[in-house]
């Protein structure tokens, strides 16, 4: 072909080309380098950082943000946003917890309720999450209002609903089976960590190996193009928000089981951390760009920062300053920004 750009078949790389190659590797994997650098720094600074226990600690601590971030990644790829995650988490946590209270606990929400099989609170919780997400998706897809507003509304409504349902009080003393979701271990690995890993893999497959995933990228990349290719854009948008709601519900189950209590104030501002994790991981708010692996690393960066700065005994106020600076620096270093711009 006459176009040189097409035939990159040549095998011998000049130094110039090598430079370009190295640059493109760094630019492709920038955020992973940032993550490794951060881990390296922390382990030099504190001996306890790189212990198995602490690593499980970090992952367990980012599980709920991470789960939400997985869902929100997919939502942002379609050019959406979800501000309601934290509130939906709270709502699901109180409802699920109210169905999983110890029968011998005096202050049960439903004193007459028999002990329900563990699937009941789980299924009901996930259903509530799906419902909230579905409502978000309905408004985004069918009325055309900006996702920011639709999910902001849900953010306020779901928080209010959680308060009303629980009368502003924690719903505590949950059954051991329920607590297992947040506190259990399998082969020494905390259950939340396993759950997060499974969900990350599932989301990865969903995005990369299913039609659903292709449509998600297409809708975010060029909604009109997706539409004229025969894709039911509205339907897939609704599905995407439902998925987001379900991920928030999963986070709710893990978190409430972890503290053995559902609370209407839970998950405050989690949406922001989750969106930050996705954005650090390279998801573009202009749609069509983003990966699950990036988001996982983004979430881990946030986890490492929180954990490491605590370990290093950085004062709480200075932690904020340092955290803010590092988040910005990480993304500046991550040269994928160039890819994002074009």
């Amino acid at each position: 072909m006459s176009n040189p750009a097409l035939s990159t078949g040549g095998q011998h790389l000049s130094t110039d080309e090598k430079k370009v190659l190295i640059k493109s590797i760094i630019s492709k994997y920038g955020i992973y380098f940032v993550f490794l650098g951060l881990v390296l720094f922390m382990s030099i600074m504190h001996p306890a950082f790189l212990t198995v226990n602490n690593i499980l600690n970090i992952i367990r601590q980012v599980t709920s943000i991470g789960l939400i971030a997985l869902g929100v990644t997919i939502i942002i790829i379609t050019r959406g946003i979800d501000l309601s995650s934290g509130s939906v988490l709270a709502l699901v946590s109180v409802i699920a917890a109210s169905l999983a209270q110890n029968p011998d606990w005096g202050a049960r929400m439903y004193p007459a309720l028999p002990m329900l099989p563990i699937v009941v609170p789980i299924v009901v919780g996930l259903a509530i999450g799906a419902l909230c997400g579905g409502i978000n998706g309905f408004f985004v897809a069918k009325t055309g209002i900006p996702p920011f507003i639709a999910t902001l509304g849900m953010m306020i409504v779901a928080r209010g609903a959680a308060m009303i349902y629980s009368d502003g009080r924690p719903v505590s003393s949950l059954t051991p089976e329920y607590n297992f979701i947040g506190q259990g271990e399998i082969l020494g690995i905390p259950f939340p960590v396993i759950l997060f890993a499974i969900m990350a893999v599932l989301c990865y497959i969903l995005l990369n190996h299913t039609r659903f995933g292709k449509y998600v990228y297409a809708i975010g990349g060029n909604e009109q193009a997706a539409h004229v290719s025969g894709i039911n854009v509205g339907k897939y948008k609704i599905l995407v928000y439902i998925l987001g709601g379900v991920m928030s519900a999963l986070a709710a189950l893990v978190l409430s089981a972890r503290i053995s209590s559902g609370q209407p104030g839970l998950g405050n501002m989690f949406e922001l951390d989750a969106i930050a994790a996705a954005t650090i991981g390279g998801v573009s708010h202009s749609g069509g760009i983003g990966t699950i692996q990036g988001t996982v690393v983004g979430a881990l960066i946030i986890g490492v920062l929180n954990n490491g700065l605590d370990l290093l005994n950085v004062s709480a106020y200075w932690q904020m300053v340092i955290k803010g600076v590092i988040i910005v620096a990480a993304v500046v270093f991550d040269m994928r920004k160039n890819a994002r711009k074009s």
Binding site: H46, A48, T51, N53, N54, N57, R60, Q61, S64, A162, M163, S166, G168, R169, P170, S172, S173, G182, Q183, L255, R258, I259, S260, S261, Q263, P264, G265, L266, N268, N306, N307, D310, L311, N313, S315, A316, Y317, Q319
Partner: protein, 287 residues
């Protein structure tokens, strides 16, 4: 165990660093630590989120603290924190907010939030001679102290048939939001005899709102905490009453318990530091 340098390490997780009262407890702990000389305290900010605090406790354990102090956002949810501490064999001292359960290896220093509300209710009922409508400005909804302080007020007013909480709104602990709530109540034309706030900052906001519409003389305003700002207001005759919660007693007290636990000295399981009523008569004692 103690580190090579022989110094004792204590981790302290507060529920919110933007809560002024907690800062005074932290100051008292700092002072006490300096006095003791051989102790290092690590402070973390729980940002009003019990799960963040749980993470911080886990981090303390990873750091090998000798003992821990936790001021829990939510007493009901402290169980998992206790479990983690007990499993790691590190004693934990709860500060300021009482957990629902206090298993072996856990201790408590502080007061009962509910009594603070009850003190408010009693004083207002007395001042109003058992008659009048009351508005309550609450803290962030769903938090332990918001719920319990508000309940405390209602506990008392229940017994006064001619008194009632007619309005109840949230000011999220903030002075400006407390002020907005009070302004809206004022325009509503309700005949309110007293405004009781879950903390001083919101009470001071209410005072400012009442003064702006020249209604301060008709309405009693009461807060909780006895912050320097609140005492200054009281000195000027602008705030009617508040409730003093002893940050030094609690902060220094909890540090002593944690210190003794680390040194394997005997300690009390529960140390109660009472709330105290502060009025224009006795405010000078708290300056």
């Amino acid at each position: 165990g103690q580190k090579d340098d022989g110094r004792i390490k204590i981790g302290a997780s507060f529920c919110a660093f933007n809560d002024t009262f907690q800062m005074y407890m932290k100051d008292a702990m700092d002072a006490k630590a300096a006095e003791l000389g051989d102790v290092d305290v690590v402070y973390t900010d729980g940002k009003e989120d019990i799960t963040i605090q749980l993470s911080q406790v886990e981090n303390f354990i990873a750091q090998g603290m000798d003992s821990m102090i936790v001021c829990p956002t939510n007493g009901d949810a402290a169980k998992s924190i206790s479990d983690a501490a007990i499993k790691a064999g590190i004693s934990i001292v709860y500060l300021n907010r009482m957990p629902t359960e206090l298993p072996d290896g856990t201790y408590y220093v502080g007061s009962d939030e509910r009594t603070a509300g009850q003190i408010q209710g009693k004083y207002i009922a007395e001042q109003l001679q058992g008659k009048g409508q009351v508005g309550v400005i609450m803290g962030i909804p769903g938090l332990d102290n918001t719920v319990k302080r508000t309940e405390g007020v209602k506990d008392i007013l229940k017994d006064h048939p001619e008194m009632a909480v007619t309005r109840e709104q949230t000011g999220r602990w903030m002075r400006d939001l407390g002020m907005s709530v009070a302004e809206n109540w004022i325009t509503s034309g309700d005949n309110m005899a007293a405004i009781i706030a879950n903390n001083d900052d919101m009470a001071l906001g209410a005072v400012a709102a009442l003064e702006a519409s020249n209604m301060k003389d008709n309405v009693l305003v009461m807060g909780i905490d006895a912050t320097p700002d609140a005492l200054a207001f009281m000195k000027d005759g602008r705030l009617d009453a508040t409730v003093f919660q002893d940050p030094v007693g609690q902060g220094a007290g909890s540090l002593m318990v944690a210190y003794n636990l680390a040194k394997k000295q005997p300690v009390e399981k529960e140390t109660w530091i009472p709330f105290e009523l502060v009025t224009p008569e006795n405010y000078k004692d708290y300056l």
